[in-house]
Amino acid sequence: MTQRERWASRIGLVLAMAGNAVGLGNFLRFPGQVASNGGGAFMIPYFVCFLLMGIPLMWLEWGMGRYGGIRGHGSTPGMFHVMWRSPIAKYLGVLGLFIPSVILFYYSYIASWTLGFALLSALGQMPEVPQQLDASRSPAEIKQEVLQPFDSFLKDYVGEGSQSSGRSAGSLLLKPRVFAYILFWVVVALNYWVLARGVARGIELLAKVAMPLLFVLAIVLVIRVLTLGQVVPGGQTPVDGLNFIWEPQWFIERGGREVFVLLDPQTWLAAAGQIFFTLSLGMGAIQCYASYLREDDDVMLTGLSTTSANEFCEVVLGSSIAIPAAVAFFGIMATRDIAEAGTFYLGFTSMPAIFSYIHYGQFMAALWFLLLFFAAFTSTVAMAQPFLAFLQDEFRIPRQNAVGILVALWVIGSHVCIFVRHAWQVMDYWSGTLGPPLMALVEVILVMWIFGGQRMWEEMHKGAELRAPRFFYYASRYVTPVILIAIFAGLVYQKITGTNEQTGLEGMPAGSIGVWIARGTLLAFAILLLWLIYRAFNGTHGDERQSGAAEAK
């Protein structure tokens, strides 16, 4: 077995794992979810899901990753293969390649928007807001007069078409700005550079630079937002914004009727979904990073540390920027509309509009988008790594060549997202919403029931610097699978009844050609991955794998 790469330092590993987890979800999705799902009351299901599902799954994925890594497998097909000697195990592992790679297709494009908006903000190229705000404006007026120019700007940027532009808002093909397209390639080039340098000299180095910068940027923005004071005469303050986000609302409106938030399945689904999204669980990326650990490296304390860094970014920093700023400028009613309009409306429409009203707003807006860019960049690198590890470990392809193959596939997938209307929203649904709970369900059953719960528990505690309370063993063996089945069933139910959340810029008409092109792309990619797995484990390479696994055993 050839020597696999290793992390150079523990702090580098923690920062890289935190970079994997900290993304747009922390600063945009979380505050929006809290505001739309009961405010402070949402934190109860959120922390219950964190405790019963987030932490157990995270430790499980770390343990699984290290177990696979020391046996020469950095991706889930190989890991599943050595943990369950069944012919189908490796094929189930396709999820750990499919999900991160598809997320990479569209997430890298979204990362390029953040870089583009940072540059445009710094250069003063964002829309202007002519009027001064006053507290008498209604939410509808704010939306029309203040936010609309920024909404149109984003839609023009990505070529979605808008009322203000001459472009069609309904055609199949999108026409993004040339600048947006160039920036996408810049993001690909940056990722290529980092990935080609390897785990320690590329990914770890990036994390050591980007993560401290991200923390500093976030803290600067939090301080700036919370010290805004009363910016609109007669209006509200950022403290009112904190009040809005944290005030528990025990009864909220769902579909025209009032429901008790703790008994509302949609709220629990939102909380569980947020935990998945924010911790990057069920994606194959944590396992892959953990596969570069040594046999006696700690996974318990280190794993918990990365989770804690993510939670700090989300609960403390994420809740203190976008929503408090929106309340200070637009009031609570308009902020509620903004939060319900989704992640992108909050980040790319509301925030630049807010910054255009404050001193050094251009600079602050550039910092905001730079913060989002660092968060997204460290995540794209993490999403790229499982497929790279698969090519390197299972086909013995040198890293440079593996990066080339990955980029070729990535660029094809991304072009579908860039140019086909609704494509990235479809990909997001299958890989970002439905995929992770399914993957997590497969791995928790495989690890805790087939491989053996006690065996994995001991495996996780090898070299550990923290002994987890036995509670987590029972949680991951009995409670986590039940929660995952409930989440998955809930998502399928929402899909069938058509009540799933819209995550994109616009709704997705069920029969549109763009939707079918995206689904076709996903299907073709899934088939390609299955074929590659078949080749890896049944051809010449497969023989090597079998003997390698036997040796390891």
Binding site: G40, D240, N243, A309, H461, L466
Partner: protein
């Protein structure tokens, strides 16, 4: 800010801060003792 909002904010922030400080203090300043292996009382959790 209402006391209820403050209470819930304190709840969320306390968990996030406590976890963060505990973990990073142990990683940065701890002496990293490994936990002893659990006594081998389990039996047949085998897959392969």
């Amino acid at each position: 800010m209402s006391w209820k909002a403050m209470l819930f904010m304190a709840f969320g922030w306390a968990i996030a801060w406590a976890l963060f400080l505990y973990c990073f203090a142990r990683i940065l300043f701890g002496n990293h003792p490994k936990v002893p292996a659990e006594s081998d009382t389990h039996s047949s959790d085998t897959a392969n």
